[in-house]
Subunit: 204 residues, 2 copies
Amino acid sequence: MAASTKKQRPTPEARSRAILETAARLICDKGYAATGIQEIAEACDLTKAGLYHYVQSKENLLLEIMSYGMDLFEEQVLSQVEGIEDPVERLKACMAKNIRLVTRGWSKEVTIILHEHATLHGAAARKINARKKRYVRFLEDSFREAVEKGLIREVDATVAAFSFLGMVLWIYKWFRPDGQLTDDQVANGMIDLLFKGLEPVRVP
Amino acid sequence: MAASTKKQRPTPEARSRAILETAARLICDKGYAATGIQEIAEACDLTKAGLYHYVQSKENLLLEIMSYGMDLFEEQVLSQVEGIEDPVERLKACMAKNIRLVTRGWSKEVTIILHEHATLHGAAARKINARKKRYVRFLEDSFREAVEKGLIREVDATVAAFSFLGMVLWIYKWFRPDGQLTDDQVANGMIDLLFKGLEPVRVP
């Protein structure tokens, strides 16, 4: 009997996580609006009523997927670089890590955050937007600090932050793992482009 | 009688254009998948059968909207700058014009092209993708030409082209006409950032 008690049924937490994973895969492939709650239930081997035991609503499911994507982002990008003293090195490390988060296939939750940017409403939208804004502020503050310390020339911190974000986040639209560029080439190329600039070649 | 014959009913072309405009507004606001063909018909004061007199299918309607958006883009951006001799000036003018196309509210067709990038399938997708690829090639060729002429330092033309596109096209996600930055400030700031680079301030 001891052996069979070890083979337990999945805990409610594990079950919830598996449902989120399945829903994220469907929404990532087809888009939120085109994915029905019935279809999510079927993919999870549940009835619609059974699915509603785990999730309150389709919008709530999207909020949970996005929250999990923001957890991933904060864990694998933001918290890894926030402690770097030099603001330029901090921004470069942040760009490299964020690009990898976008290019590696397992980050479907991150793709959903990027693509479904206007899908949530009310309190759910405010919750996710507040976490996104924290990232924008972090970038703006780092650019501002780099200017103040004379490490980069004077630029508008907001334009710089959104240029950084555009370069990095647009990647989900065009990058293919089997394409001509590796994600490391994209990361190194973009870091070089933004931080070294596009100055004329000076013949010595 | 002469006066009344002048007040004609809209031509089929004008009617088709009005339907495209209405559908584009709905799809831009709610997303393609969430917009029903019934809803489009109602907004056009037509029955569903009446709407199908003008459009073959919802997907075909999307293709027509995107084709019109690409027409707008080619007319207001690409054809305006292709003739500029200096590749750096060509790229700068292109960036300024493309940013304006994204920020001005009337370009809902352009927003739809940007957001619904994976919605079309088969021949329709190939048609739009070929026009998008033409733009990517134009940017890559211009960057390559600028490197070859020694006008900018050596960079990967593909990374540069997609960095340009990311900066410019991501704008539809965050820019608000009533925000702290005008679209001219964004355009000038991004041109400065990408083309002048981010070199350290050198104290003379």
